[in-house]
Amino acid sequence: MTGRHTLASTHIGVAIAAFAVASAMGVLQALSVADVEFPRRSESLYYVSLTAHGVLMALVFTTFFIMGLGYVLAQECLGRITGRLGAWIAFALAAVGSVMAAVTILRGQSTVLYTFYPPMQAHPLFYIGATLLVVGSWIWGGVMIASYRSWRREHPGVPVPLSIHGMLAAVIVWYLATAGLAAEVLGMLIPWSLGMVDKVDPLVARTLFWWFGHPLVYFWLLPAYVLWYTVLPQVAGGRLFSDRLARMVFILFVVLSTPVGFHHQFSDPGISSGWKLAHTVLTYGVLYPSLVTAFTVIASLEVAGRMKGAKGLFDWIGRLPWSDPFFACIALAMIAFTFGGFGGAINAAYAMNTMVHNTAWIQGHFHVTLGTTVALSFMGATYWLLPRMLGRELRFRGLARVQPYLWFLGMALFSTSYHLAGLRGLPRRVYSASLTGEYGEAWHGLTKVAAAGGTILFLSALAFVTVVLATWVAGKKISPPAFEFAVSLRPATALTLWDRFGMWTVVAVVLLAVAYGYPLIHLLSQQRWGSPAFQPF
């Protein structure tokens, strides 16, 4: 039994370590923006820690966690991980890459934030490290696909378990997304940072970055959805409402995730309003599978409540296991996501976008979506996984019970005040909300509330890390509980249109080629000069 999940638990351990360091940085930033003095507060500390926070949270924590979750699901739902050696090589590459990038950041040589827009230039090892992380994740995707293929040969004509269906969708989204990043980093930034070319075009780089940058969020979200669909109804004591709708949802993400990036570039020159509009339409298109998910998952919870004897219209809500740490994490994550969804619909409408573009609103928005929906889902998953992966009982259960609520409270304060400050024009990524010491009045109260929220968030992160560490090293040995996945009210029995991954991938590639091909060719056919490098410090 031991060793079955070593691969997965190693990845998840790295993910949580990155999360822990990044959380400490987060609270420093929140205090700094609010002008709360603390020892060693300085501009360089703020921007260094902001880069570290963004890279560790958005790239390292999420990627490692998803890789680990993928291995757990492959092992449990397919009964195999095909290519274990490759998986360990991938881990080594990704880990070495992350450490390389992190060291150059902490030494102040790569303070370019996680968006690393040129012509601001980082140390070459920052770009190379990030590349190794991505290469590792590509190999992980290959292992996931190989495991699926090998299972498929033994099970012709049978729909693959839903959790794997969702993870395969995430893998495809990831390949489509990282193609843009690879073009930017390998084709432009690495040769430039090594001095092999003198100049890069900042707008082409931004465009390639956002080709990657938005589907990146679906790469995080799909594994969370896998948990919502396949584990949550089970833990709540119910059934998955509709297996077929769930399969459709994942396929729609494969098709619609990538050609949406221009909604991050509404305020950029060089892209025609027609293409901006096309990406807006597609952005609203991706709202669709999320709305369907909201329905299916909530219906599944209602089924759970009713199976426990709930009567009236809302009685079922009270019967759900709100004191179970996994359940609480996911339920709160889902509540946060409805707010995130509203905000996203606003960001995607370009008239409203000009009000909030690059203001603190944006940080408010992605801390509810990424920082709460995704992060809480992964924290919940950790509570669910640890006993099963390690064969150890969760330590400090009480702490684990309050932790999700603490996170939700902290984020409510943090995110609401950032949204409001953004509406009042507070620009994002500032060391101090008073800017030059004169303009802060409209924002000060709000940033102070945000700092209080950030402190609560940090306490919640500490509680989470404490539970994880204590369980890992000192949890009582138990025989691991079984991995149980939700049964559907109407299980899928035959392959349908939604199981044809090859075909849908082709559709997605064609759509991507149209949505980015034409505008990029148009841009590249202009006379352009490019920019030499600038160091941020």
Partner: protein, 155 residues
């Protein structure tokens, strides 16, 4: 429980909601010409001196009577500063950068654009309320990013 019926209802309701959102955007795009800025004009960011407009960026009235403000963003200042414009008249901003990517946000208005080296962001706004406005750089541009502010005076 008729799962299939509920599924159908929800699928159509969700689709309807999205069509409504998109309808609103298309309507405003069509009827009120609400469109994102989308200007394509390139130049050599290391040699702005060779482009008269950006060698001495200023507020000018063009021969056709339109009011144009050319702005250069450079770590850590905007030129010109302050910018003075009249109220209730359309003002076209043309913003570029001579070094890294900067932001150009006039706090409290819907003037909001990126300043990208090598390109010109162009957009038109009408300020209705006289007063002093803060212009903030909203894209991280280096260690004094938060200190990169300018002033707009609407008369």
């Amino acid at each position: 429980m008729n799962v299939e019926l509920y599924e159908r209802i929800w699928m159509w309701a969700a689709a309807g909601l999205i069509v409504m959102f998109l309808g609103a955007i298309f309507l405003t795009a069509g009827l009120q010409a609400v469109q994102p800025p989308s200007h394509l004009e390139t130049m050599d960011p290391t040699a702005l001196i060779h482009y008269p407009e950006f060698a001495n960026p200023a507020v000018v009235t063009r021969p056709d009577g339109s009011l144009v403000v050319s702005v250069v963003a450079e770590t850590y200042a905007f030129t010109p500063d302050p910018i003075e414009v009249p109220a209730n008249r359309p003002v076209t901003f043309r913003v570029t950068s001579s070094d890294v990517v900067h932001g150009f946000e006039i706090v409290g208005t819907n003037a909001n654009a990126m300043a990208i080296p090598g390109y010109v962001s162009q957009f038109t706004v009408t300020f209705t309320k006289p007063g002093e406005y803060v212009i903030a750089c909203h894209e991280y541009c280096g260690i004094l990013h938060h200190g990169m502010v300018g002033k707009l005076i609407v008369k």
